[in-house]
Symmetry: C2
Subunit: 386 residues, 2 copies
Amino acid sequence: MIYADYNGSAPLHPQVATYLKQRIDKGPYANPNAIHSLGQKMLMGFEKCREICAKALGADSTQIIFTSGASEGISQVFHSVLTPFSQKKNIIISSNIEHSAIGHAWEYYSAMGYEIVLLDTKASGVIDIENFKNTLSAHQGKIALVNIMAANNETGVIQPFSELAKLCSAETIPYFSDTTQLIGKSSFHFEESNIDYAVLSGHKLGALPGVGILIAKDPLSLKPIIFGGGQENGHRGGTQNYIGAETLAVALTSVLSEEEQTQLKITKDLKENFEKNIKKRFPNTVIIGEDVDRLPTTTLISYPGIHGQAVQIELESEDIFVTTSSACSDNEPETSKVLSAMDINDDIGRGVIRISMDTKSDQDSYLKLEEALIQAYSKLEKIKSY
Amino acid sequence: MIYADYNGSAPLHPQVATYLKQRIDKGPYANPNAIHSLGQKMLMGFEKCREICAKALGADSTQIIFTSGASEGISQVFHSVLTPFSQKKNIIISSNIEHSAIGHAWEYYSAMGYEIVLLDTKASGVIDIENFKNTLSAHQGKIALVNIMAANNETGVIQPFSELAKLCSAETIPYFSDTTQLIGKSSFHFEESNIDYAVLSGHKLGALPGVGILIAKDPLSLKPIIFGGGQENGHRGGTQNYIGAETLAVALTSVLSEEEQTQLKITKDLKENFEKNIKKRFPNTVIIGEDVDRLPTTTLISYPGIHGQAVQIELESEDIFVTTSSACSDNEPETSKVLSAMDINDDIGRGVIRISMDTKSDQDSYLKLEEALIQAYSKLEKIKSY
């Protein structure tokens, strides 16, 4: 099997699996808020996880809030920055390539009175900095929040998030970047990035599902959306998911280790070689965001005129699992809104499949993938030509 | 070791531990929203968990929303019922024995304009039905929400939640009962209970931390607090915590099995015998809620004049882990507000320790506990008398 849907969700990282199996038998289990020494031990372990994650992410441990995942983090940032509604600052600047979780937040806050200004990208998939600057100027003094993601889940295209953050910072506009896809696959240092709020999901990194992190430059600016017993310094209620946090600390440590960072470079080379070979064999194919900085593991490729879902099914018959867009919009038949924002036509748009590989992929996987994709396209282009 | 803080958090249930260890190696892992067959398999497994949990809880599977835990469920109920603020129905009726997560919700909603009417209990720890009826009458037509828990986390006292629910139902007042401590330890059937909203946390039942359930009689009344990609029928965003849900389905199935229900009855007898023996040996001791229906696993006991924390430390030196109140208020030196609501004096209040045992406790554990508590009280009453 080749699992090529890491952007959707990663299997447990091998080191996490090993850790967890030992952890299950060894214990301990207790409420980290309990007065007894077992509870205190849990709390110390949990705080140690926070420190490990903080260090891995270039943040201070006070800036790390453990959540249930990126969607919760996103929701909390919006709630923290945007309530109560202020008539004076009623503009949210975002983009048409955001994850659907953000789309649902827009609906809620536009009903509250906010105006959402959505930017398209350049044809490359990258936000146009000049356009961004003009938009900031056009709404000067009225902007409540800017939220533009760091790396797109469908195309893998990396946005100039630090540059955008600096522009916002200069005008003291809160800047939130959805870093869910970037972290672990491309270098990230929260403090250096100048971002005000960032989020991640453990399951994208090989930790257990149901745990994530919200990083806040100024944690005091946060308002809880989950009330509780004062956990997470009052920023997030609920008994701490200490096992989730432990798996996240193990996953982040592994992913950012020198060894895996070296493997990531190899993956990048393998991917580029794979893309080159496919394009050579099928010159009609289009690789979305080909000429710009992308996640080293992601290929969004289209053979115009061949439906992406047909390709996905062909690959699946070879035990290779890809998607046609992001998991959350997979069932929509049209060109994804991300590709529309890049002004990509329907012929290409309907043809895409997303291949998102393990950061530690080997040559064999990419060779098998290449072979299977060549076979699929060869078969389907014949059918197409009838 | 005797772990006697199950009300704080339960260790992984043995069956969950067995399941999880196999599950880690076997997989699969995928995003349940993905188009490929692995994703579909995950989704089917996840929906199967929902059915299992629904059946165990006496609810329809459409009424089950998977959350990150009870605190999230509590927060979502408040948000769903209380926003937007309505001047017409601006009263929340609750009690002084609720969990601190609810206390934080009150703060938020009273700042919004709601008036919180808090009921004390009778000396037994049980809500006074007559007082409750009078309160409903006094605020007729103005009540937005009633929230009174099902079983108290400190005392274990079980409230007449079905009776309260019926009174509310008759006047179409939404009734939310925090059932976190009750479920698994006492019989519960959502539909028969007449409750509109109930919640639970997996970690109280031996599932992984970081997963829970919100049960809603009318799920369409829910508004999400976590935006996402439309998961949970739009009621709760974020990639589903499928591993958490699996452990919860295993835990609930085990806890509610005939075998464990039989063990629970044995535990109840052992506990009653233990309490009787302690009272016989130390006639000064007070068992909170002694004469009313309590969780079969919980004993809140005080030796007036001997500080609870001293007892807790003595027991800990014998490798027995109890708390002085609930985990979330353990560090407060005063009599807990739950005991104040029962009009219990400080001399008793400061003396309490909470013993909350496994639902499948054996005679040996209770004998050791009895011996250790007798030893602790004997030692501490000597010091006290100097």
